[in-house]
């Protein structure tokens, strides 16, 4: 059975094809295209698209539609012709009255719909990757985050056996401590994840770990939520400060394991000229 999103996409394409075959006028074609995009954004994705993005895309679509219709006099005339006919031809009066009733009714329905939503926490712009400080102190030892490297990363090439031991240790640390929230496949869906707000980040996709240097992860693991900087909040995370429970080596090892398990590479440092 084909997923419903494909049916939606196919139906919308079919509508476009039918309009092309029927040589639909500018007015009908423009309106149909706008609604096709609206329907596709609402129903064309397996995971629903957040309203903020739908509004953004529809705003762009509306701007583009207005630009298209008004950029040529002939096109503008074609677009407005059905509306002008609707307004001035006596034979179309019933339709005009219908539109006059329908538009306020649609507005009223939209208002009712926007008010009739379940109560939930308000949306806010959460910063996922706050800027790290230049230096931190872990277990009374200062670390310069600008130059800090994972001390065991170099073993990957120089001593693969030792590197494998560090990975195994990282695996142990992860499954003893982190798995409950981050999940056994690091998708941010551990058994406690559903009790957290926001839920843990999905490390399995390529847009998180691969964008960060290992020093950033060391800072986040060691200091957790309580160690987030005050500037530029609001920060929001339930991550504990793991420096209270893990040794420095354990934290470096678990970072190695995160990258190894998700098959990603840490962001390389920019070389200063």
């Amino acid at each position: 059975m084909m997923p419903i999103v494909w049916w939606v996409a196919l139906l919308l394409l079919a509508v476009q094809f039918a309009l092309w075959k029927l040589r639909a006028g500018t007015f009908l074609w423009t309106l149909a295209s706008w609604f096709s995009i609206y329907l596709f954004l609402h129903f064309g994705f397996t995971v629903p698209v957040p309203q903020s993005v739908i509004s953004l895309y529809l705003g762009i679509t509306t701007l583009a539609t207005v630009a298209y219709v008004t950029s040529d006099r002939e096109r503008l005339r074609n677009f407005t012709a059905p509306l002008v006919r609707l307004c001035i031809e006596p034979g179309r009066r019933p339709v005009l009255y219908g539109v006059a009733v329908l538009l306020p009714a649609l507005a009223a329905f939209g208002t009712w719909r926007s008010m009739n939503v379940p109560l939930e926490a308000p949306a806010f712009g959460r910063t996922i990757h706050p800027a790290p400080p230049d230096s931190i102190t872990v277990h009374d030892k200062p670390f310069n985050l600008i130059t800090l490297e994972n001390p065991y990363r170099k073993l990957e090439k120089s001593d693969p056996a030792a590197f494998a031991r560090h990975l195994a240790n990282g695996k142990r640390v992860f499954y003893q401590n982190c798995v409950y929230c981050h999940g056994d496949a690091m998708r941010g869906d551990g058994m406690y994840a559903h009790g957290l707000n926001p839920i843990p980040t999905n490390f399995a996709e390529g847009g998180t770990l691969a964008l960060l240097q290992e020093s950033f992860l060391f800072w986040r693991v060691s200091k957790g939520g309580p160690g987030l900087p005050e500037e530029g909040g609001p920060w929001d995370t339930a991550m504990p400060a793991w420096e209270s429970f893990l040794t420095e080596d354990e934290m470096w090892d678990v970072i190695l394991f995160l990258y190894d398990y998700t098959d990603q590479r840490p962001r390389a440092r920019e070389v200063k000229e």
Binding site: V49, P50, V53, T127, D189, I199, F216
Partner: protein, 625 residues
């Protein structure tokens, strides 16, 4: 005459009566202490003694008060930060305009000199009309900014002086020369030989750029200080000048100034077009708006690359600054930036499509507009797609995080770079179609030339899209490197296709003339929209660059310990930027109005007044002699 005198007398009488009435009314309601006869001998009461002692104590304390250096002073009502922010923003906007207009005015004058076409000379002169008042306003806001810094942030200003004092004298010297060149360039229009006048324009541009380079050193030092010891002591002024972000800012500002200046000059033309009374005026200002917009868009196309270079250098200087900018507190402003830039691209294309309406023979290209629009809108949507989406709690749960499983791929650098390059190619294609409107090539190789141009476009688009897709599968350092071939392929396309086009349409037959002035009036509002959007964008991005330092005056060296040592909310910041933009457009409207006075007739007295003044009895003494 008698009647007028009587009316004045009665008005004065009435005025006095009103004053007497108000005074009487107020005095009746004033509290008057009952009269007490003075005692023969003043009795010293303990209370009076206490007051006298207190006064003496205060006087003594004041005399012994030691001199203390003040760290901060507060500006009333709006606070020091907002006061300096507004002064700096307005100074920068006028300075950018004053630096940009001579750049393209000189280029247009040079074209006029080479082609002997007087229209270009008139156009360049018209642009420079806006300069002299803007120059005065730049200096006024510069003085306000300097005094603001000295008064409100004395300690920080003293530190900057300790590092950059050797640059101040050259700055003042250059400023003097700028005034000399600017006024001789403007007032000397048509009074010197063309070559001398062009040399004056060149001098104006060189001096203006020099001033900008020095000022850029001061502000970039605050973000990426160098040439100082770990404790902040000066080691080398030259090293402090050429700090990490100095050259990227220089490049970015020169290009952005031209884009901004062109757009404001085009807005001036739009303002004049909308108020024009004759077809001739409409034609002139339509053409002026087109040239201004052309300058703005030409400069705008490479601007994203210059911005990318600046951001890369900020990242290279400090990962913390880079993350604060792109992943931290300021990242949401880049979504607004994307929406504004997308709007600019859409508006630039829209203006070109509207412009086709004034060329007979452009109808053949109308069928392509829908495809160009789909490309522009798609790239706009990709560029504006955030990676971390603003969403409700239920939406976050449905997505399994703050990134959407499908749309997250549009939120990363690979997608953004690809989108902006395709946007630039599409805008260039729109311009090419506009340029070809009403012309038919006559060269024998026309077909082959068209095919070559199409092939270049397709190859460039393939390179851009392929590297964009490949960027998802490589590490960040390699991905950043991909932007260079992407940019180069787009630049190569623009240059090579233009060269082919110039030869292709040499001696082309004209199927229709450009009917200047016969463009839909909405196009003029588009020009004003572009200018406003550019200005807003400059304010917004300037805030990001400056706000990056967060609680530092000089990043990592001089900490901000004032009451404003926090990053304001994005809503507050955008409101301040909006106020600055409004103030700028109010002031620039004043400049436009002043510039429009030059073409008006001199004031003359009304005929009856003129007749009055001509009576012999009123002639000044000695006039008859």
């Amino acid at each position: 005459m008698m009647k007028k005198g009587l009316a004045a007398f009665l008005a004065a009488l009435l005025g006095f009566a009103v004053i007497v009435g108000i005074a009487t009314f107020l005095l009746r309601r004033e509290y008057h202490a009952p009269y007490r006869a003075p005692a023969a001998v003043t009795q010293e009461t303990p209370r009076a003694q206490g007051i006298a002692d207190e006064k003496a104590e205060v006087e003594k304390r004041d005399k012994e008060k030691p001199y203390q250096e003040v760290e901060y002073r507060q500006f009333p009502k709006i606070g020091s930060r907002v006061a300096v922010w507004i002064a700096a923003q307005l100074h920068l906007l006028f300075a950018a305009f004053v630096l940009a207009v001579p750049l393209f005015a000189l280029a247009i004058e040079f074209i006029g000199y080479r082609t002997k076409d007087r229209r270009y000379d008139r156009l360049a002169h018209e642009f420079t009309k806006l300069l002299s008042v803007s120059f005065s306003l730049t200096a006024t806001f510069g003085a306000m900014l300097t005094f603001g810094l000295i008064i409100l942030y004395p300690k920080f200003t003293t530190y900057l002086v300790s590092v950059f004092s050797p640059t101040f004298l050259p700055y003042v010297g250059l400023f003097f020369f700028e005034a000399f060149f600017l006024y001789t360039y403007y007032y000397g229009w048509g009074k010197f030989s063309p070559r001398v006048h062009l040399a004056l324009g060149l001098g104006l541009n060189v001096v203006g750029t020099g001033i900008m380079l020095i000022a850029n050193a001061w502000l970039t030092f605050m973000t990426s200080p160098s040439g100082i010891s770990e404790k902040g002591a000066l080691i080398s002024t030259w090293d402090a000048v050429r700090n990490y972000t100095w050259m990227p800012i220089n490049v970015h500002r020169i290009i952005a100034n031209v884009a901004f200046g062109g757009s404001v000059a085009a807005a001036y033309a739009a303002f004049k077009f909308l108020g024009a009374k004759t077809d001739e005026e409409r034609a002139h200002y339509d053409w002026m708006g087109y040239i201004g917009n052309f300058v703005a868009i030409c400069a705008f196309l490479p601007l994203p690359f210059a911005g990318y270079y600046l951001a890369k250098e900020i990242y290279a200087y400090s990962q913390t600054l880079g993350l604060t900018m792109m992943g931290g507190a300021f990242s949401w402003l880049f979504i607004i930036q994307a929406v504004l830039i997308g709007n600019l691209f859409l508006a630039a294309n829209y203006y070109l499509w509207l412009g086709m309406g004034r060329i007979s023979g452009a109808e053949q290209f109308q069928k392509y507009i829908k495809y160009l629009l789909i490309l522009v809108a798609t790239c706009f949507a990709v560029w504006a797609t955030p990676r971390s989406i603003i969403s409700t709690v239920s939406e976050v749960r449905a997505m399994g995080g703050s990134a959407h499983p499908a749309l997250q791929f549009l939120g990363v650098m690979s997608a953004k770079n690809t989108a902006v390059n395709i946007l630039i190619l599409t805008t260039f294609l729109s311009f090419l179609l506009y340029r070809r409107s009403g012309k038919t090539p006559t060269v024998s190789w026309a077909k082959a030339g068209n095919r070559a141009q199409l092939a270049i476009f397709l190859v460039a688009a393939t390179i851009v899209i392929s590297l964009g897709i490949l960027g998802y599968f490589v590490e960040a350092r390699v991905r950043i490197g991909f932007s260079i071939p992407q940019v180069l392929s787009v630049l190569f396309t623009m240059v090579s296709v233009t060269v082919i086009d110039v030869f292709l349409y040499r001696n082309a037959t004209k199927t229709g003339e450009v009917r200047w002035g016969q463009i839909a009036p909405i196009s003029q509002y588009v020009l004003i929209f572009i200018a406003v959007t550019f200005t807003w964008l400059m304010g917004l991005m300037g805030y990001v660059r400056s706000g990056l330092r967060q609680h530092w005056h000089v990043y990592g060296v001089i900490r901000d310990t004032s009451v404003d040592a926090f990053t304001p909310t994005l809503g507050f910041a955008t409101r301040i930027v909006s106020v600055c933009v409004l103030l700028f457009f109010l002031l620039i409207s004043f400049v436009f109005w002043l510039a429009s006075l030059t073409g008006k007739k001199d004031w003359e007295p009304r005929p009856e007044k003129a007749a009055e003044t001509e009576r012999p009895g009123l002639e000044p003494v000695g006039a008859a002699e």
